[in-house]
Point group: C2
Chain length 581, copies 2
Amino acid sequence: MTLAKYFPILTWGRDYNRTALSNDLVAALIVTIMLIPQSLAYALLAGLPPEAGLYASIVPIMLYAVFGTSRALAVGPVAVVSLMTAAALSNIAEQGTMGYAVAALSLAALSGVMLLAMGLFRLGFVANFLSHPVIAGFITASGIIIAASQLKHILGIDAQGHNLLELIVSIGEHLSQTNWITALIGILATGFLFWVRKGLKPLLTKLGVGSTLTGVLVKTGPVAVVVATTAAVWVFGLADQGVNIVGEVPQSLPPLTLPSFSPDLLGQLLLPAFLISIIGFVESISVAQTLAAKKRQRIDPDQELIGLGAANIGASLTGGFPVTGGFSRSVVNFDAGAETPAAGAFTAIGLAIAALALTPLIYFLPKATLAATIIVAVLSLVDFSVLKRSWNYSKADFAAVLATILMTLALGVEVGVSAGVGLSILLHLYKSSKPHIAEVGQVPGTEHYRNVLRHDVITDPSIVTLRVDESLYFANARYLEDKIQNRVAKDKNIRHVILQCAAVNEVDLSALESLEAINERLREMGVQLHLSEVKGPVMDRLKRAHFLEDMTGKVFLSQFMAVKTLQAIPNNGTLNPSEIL
Amino acid sequence: MTLAKYFPILTWGRDYNRTALSNDLVAALIVTIMLIPQSLAYALLAGLPPEAGLYASIVPIMLYAVFGTSRALAVGPVAVVSLMTAAALSNIAEQGTMGYAVAALSLAALSGVMLLAMGLFRLGFVANFLSHPVIAGFITASGIIIAASQLKHILGIDAQGHNLLELIVSIGEHLSQTNWITALIGILATGFLFWVRKGLKPLLTKLGVGSTLTGVLVKTGPVAVVVATTAAVWVFGLADQGVNIVGEVPQSLPPLTLPSFSPDLLGQLLLPAFLISIIGFVESISVAQTLAAKKRQRIDPDQELIGLGAANIGASLTGGFPVTGGFSRSVVNFDAGAETPAAGAFTAIGLAIAALALTPLIYFLPKATLAATIIVAVLSLVDFSVLKRSWNYSKADFAAVLATILMTLALGVEVGVSAGVGLSILLHLYKSSKPHIAEVGQVPGTEHYRNVLRHDVITDPSIVTLRVDESLYFANARYLEDKIQNRVAKDKNIRHVILQCAAVNEVDLSALESLEAINERLREMGVQLHLSEVKGPVMDRLKRAHFLEDMTGKVFLSQFMAVKTLQAIPNNGTLNPSEIL
C-alpha cells in the first residue's frame, strides 16, 4: 500500500499491456523528435553546452516515470526554469567554465532536495502563494526577457543581461558587430517558424490535408529548420564566415557527475533554488492536472513533488541542470497518445540514442537556429491579456500582475516573482484587514436580516446588529473594535450590540482578546454584547477560552431569536443572565 | 470642519471651563511628580544623558495635546521604545558620544515622519499585523531584556548586550568588578519598590487609610526612593566610594536641536524607525482606546498617528528621542481626573520647571536607583500566562508567541518582533490555504444542508454538494481544485457538483481561474458545475468576468432549490441551459 503510494509505477505497471506499449512507443517517437532541438536550445538559454540539454532530458524523465503520478507529463529543461538558472548562476561563475557547470548541477541538486522535502513533509501548499495573476505576469515578462536574450544569437553578437534594460543596453552597444550572414539565417529561421505556427496549418487544411498529418507536419517545423540551416552552413562553409555553430558535441551517454557541496555556493543558491522549485512545480502541476482531468485521472501534488525532486536530483548526477514538467512537450505527448509514464522512459531511450549517435550531425547547426526556436516558443507565452482581465475583475490582482511584470522586466526574474508574491499577500491581508461589516435589520414579514443601507428593514433604536463578513483574526481585530466603538459612542440610545457571526469561520486569540475588550468597553458604556449564528467550531473555541462566561450578553442560535428575546425584556433594557431562555 | 478634524484641540478647547481646568491641574501635578524619575530612567535605558528624558517629555506632550484625540493619553519616553532605541543605535555610535545623541534625534525624526505619513495616508492598518500574542510575547521578552540590562547599574559594573544571552555573558564576565555599596543601594531600592507595589497597599488598607490617599502614597514610592538614596549618597559621600551618580545635569529648557539628514544614517535607521513607530503606535492606541471607552469617547486611529508623529518630530527638534503614549502614566493621568489634553500641557510645564530648576537636586542621585525603578516597572510587564492561554486556545497563536519570546531573548528586539509578525502571517495564510470544505446533505424534513460526516442527512448519488468555509483566493484556489478532482474522479455516478458559497466572501482572479479550470475539467468528465447561495458582491464580480456564461451548470439562490431542480431533470442527468427556471 505505502510502497505503491510512493512508487506509482507499481500501480500502472501492473496493468501494462501491448496496446499501452504501442501507444507509448508512438508518443515517445514524436516527443523525441520534438525534444532534440528543444533540449539543445534550452541548454543554450541556461548558459550551458548543448549536450547538457540532452542529458537533462534522459535520467530525469526515467526517474519521473518511476515516482510521478501524471500519466502524460514530460519532464526536462523548460524555458522559464532555464532562464532562472542562467540568472541564478550569472553572479557565481562565468558561462563556459567548469565552475558554471558544477553550479548548475548544484542548483539542480538543491532544488531536487527541496522538492523532495516539500513532498515528504507535505509542504506543497507553499506553491499556492503564487497567485495566478503573478504567475501569468511572471511568465509573460520571462518570455520577453528570454526572447531578448536570444537576439544576440540571431545577430551573432556578444550581449549580456538578466533583465530587459540590461539586455537592450548591451545589444545596442554591440549592434555594430552584427554578423549579417548569421542575422540572415536567424531572421529567416524565426520567420519560417512563425509561419509554420500561424500560416502552415490553415494552408494545409485548405489543401485538404488531414488534421492528424497537419499536426505532425506543424510539429516537425523546428526539425526542418534545424536540418535546413545545418545543411546550408555545411554546404556553403558559413562557419568560416563567422556564423556561430554548435560545434563538437561529445558522443556519449549522460556522464556521472557530482554537485558541489561547498556551503558558500549552496548558500548563494538557496533562494534561487527555492524559487526555481516553486515555479517549476507550479508549471508542472498545472499541466499535469489539466491533462489528468481529460481522462478522469488523479494527480497527487505531494507525490508530484517527490517525482520532480527525484528528476532534479537525477539531473544533478548526470550532467544536467534544473528540470520540470514542460507544457508544450506534455501536450504533444498526450495528444500523441501516451498512456503511461513508460512513454517518458522510451523518450529517454530515444534521446540517449541521439546523444550517443546523432551529435556529429549537429556540428554545423547554427546557434541562431536554436535561438529562433526559443524565440518562437516563448513568444507564445507572452500574453498581456491578463492585464486587461485583471483590471476588469479586481484592482488588487491587477496591481500584483503589473508589479510582477515591471519588476521582472526591470530587475530580473528573482526580484520580479518575489515582488509579485509579496504584493499579493500584502493586498490580501489588507483586504481582509478591513472586512465588510454591515449593520443589518429585519426584512419585514421574514426572519431574514439584511444590510440597512441596501434594504428597507425594521430596526430597533436600542439594538444594533453588525454582520461581519470575514473571519476574525489579528489583522482585522482592531478594525472591529474601532467600528463598534464609533457606532456605539455616538448613539446613547443603544443598549444592545449583536454580532451576527454566520460568515466568521475563525476567531483567533487576537480577535478573542478584541472581543473581550469590546465586551469590557461596552460594559463601561452600559451596553450588552451578544453573538448570533456562531458556527460550531468557533463556538467550541470560544467555550475553551471562558469568554462566554465573561460576556455581558448571550449567544443566540439565530439573529431572529436574538432580537425577539432582547425586545421582550422590560424597560431597563438589560438582559439578566438568569432570564436567559 | 476639516481643520477641527486635524486639530482636535479646536473641539475640546471650545468647551474648556474652570472645572476642567482645576481637574487637569491636579492630574498634571501628580503625573509630573511621577514622570521626573521615570523620564530620567528611560533616558538611561535608551543610552542617553538623563536630561534627554525630561526634554522628551516636554514639547512632545504639548504637540500631542494639539493633535491627539485621546483626552487622557500621556506621551513621553516609555520602556520598550527606549530599549528599541538603544538597540537601534548600538551599531551606529558609542553611547555618550555626540553621534549617539544625534542618531537618537534622527530616529525620532524618522519615526515621526513615518507616523505622520501613515496618518495622512490612512495606513494605520499596518499596525494590525502585530497580533495580540506577538505583542504580548514581545513585551514580556522586552521586559526581561530591560531588567537584565539594568543589572549592570544595580551592581555598578560595565556590561553590554542587546539580547539576553549577550547580557548574561557580559554580566558574568564583569561580575568581579561589583561595587558593593552600589549593589546595596540598588538591591534595597529594588526591594523597597517591590514592597511598595505588593505590600504597602494591603498594609495601608489594613491600617484604615483611605483608598485615594493609599493610591497617592503608593505612587510616590519612586520619588521617595530617589530622595532617600540621593540624600544617602550626599550625606555619606558615597560617590567617592565608586557609586555611579547622575552628576551634573544642565539647568535648561529643552534645547533646539536638528536631526542628521545623512542618507547613510537614515538608511540604517529605516527599519528600526519603522518597528519603533508600529510598536509605539500599538501600545499608545491600546491605552487610548481603553481609557476612551470608560467615558464613551472616540479615538480616531489615523489622527492618533498624526498626533504621535508630531510628538516625535517635536522630540527630534528639542533634544529628545522616540516617544509614545505610555501605559502607566496615562492610567495615572486618567485616574487623577484629567479631563482634556490640557492636563498634558500642564505636565509639560511642570517638567519644564523641573528641567530649569530642580536638576541640581539630582546631582547625587545614584544610577542604581533609576535602574531599580526601571526593573520594578518592567517586571510588571513580564507575563508568561499568554503562553498557557494561547496553548489552550490555538496552537498557531502559541507558536507565534513562543517564536517571538525566544527570538527576542536570543537575537534582540528587531529580529524578535519581525519573526513573530512573519510567523503569524504565514500561519494565517497556511490555515486559510487549507480551508474547511464539507460535503453536505439535506437534513430530513427541512431545507437545511449539513455536513454528511456529522449528521444523518439525505444525499443523492448523482449530486455532490461541497460547502467551502472560506473566501476563495490564490492561497486556497488550487486546494479546491484538488479536492473536487479527487472527489469526482473516484466516483463515476456523479453528474452534478454544487458549490455552496454562503461563507465565500471573496473570489479573486486566481480563484476565478480555478473555478474555470474546475468547470472545464468537470465538463471533460461529463459533470456539471453549479453554485448556490452566492453573496451579492461576489455575484457582481463573477458577472463581470463572463464565468457564469461559460459555466456548464447554473447559479441557484438556495441549496435546497438547487438539489430540487437537479433531481427533477430526466434520466440523462444534465441540465440544459434552456431548461433553467
